[in-house]
Amino acid sequence: MRYLTDRKRAVGKGASHTGTAHHWSMQVSSVGLAFLVPIWVYVFGSTLGQSHDAVLAVFAQPFPAILTALVIFVGMRHFAKGASMMIEDYAKGTARKMLIIFVVSLSYVITATGLFALVKIAI
């Protein structure tokens, strides 16, 4: 008699080998971004093209600053996972690994840079 349950034999055998965690995380971040992005587009679009002082004044306020931080953070996690998925579809072997490391690093660099800029404007 085998003590493996049906579930135990099924886990990891799907196309992704990792279950639905990646897909679910994309769904969660997409719903979050669906609420954040339209408002952020309005804030960013109406600020772009203004003077330096006006730009600083906008992003020093709590709402635009927190909104921008959320868009950058959630957006870059969404991008890292989405871009990794694209790379997994089109590249293999070492190229795949290097490209995934590159896009994940890039998204963290952009996140850190954006948050640093917001903090510096705020204080």
Binding site: V37, M86, I110, K120
Partner: protein, 127 residues
């Protein structure tokens, strides 16, 4: 000699001979717009970093961001945002197991294309 009996298996779409359809084009556009948006994000975050750094640096970044190149990137990004937005909502709807029959899927595809252009024009008029 007995011939080996071949099983007729369906082949996966072969890109060179695959006839593009509305559903496949709107699907691949979701990926292209989503990944292409990184260009607009880099420009926007660079602009924000420059604003946080100094007036001189801001003048440089703002010059690029409001030049014809910046206009091109941000206008393209705006359409990409709206396209990816509508296609993402469509994706969530598909994931719920709805709208997968061909007439509905094609209507949703047109909805993404026309809707994204309308929303882009609307956004440019508002901001």
């Amino acid at each position: 000699m007995a011939e080996i009996k071949r099983v007729e298996r369906p082949l996966s779409p072969h890109l060179q001979v695959y006839r593009p359809q509305l559903t496949s084009v709107t699907s691949i556009l979701t990926r292209i717009t989503g990944n292409g948006l990184i260009v607009g994000v880099i420009l926007a975050v660079w602009w924000l970093l420059a604003a946080a750094t100094s007036p001189a640096y801001f003048a440089v970044a703002n010059g690029v961001a409001t030049s014809w190149f910046g206009d091109l990137v941000f206008t393209a990004s705006l359409w990409a945002i709206w396209y990816h937005y509508l296609a993402g909502l469509r994706h969530l709807y598909f994931d719920a197991g709805k709208g997968l029959d061909i007439p509905t899927a094609e209507k949703l595809g047109w909805g993404c294309i026309i809707g994204s252009v309308l929303l882009t024009v609307l956004t440019i008029l508002i901001v």
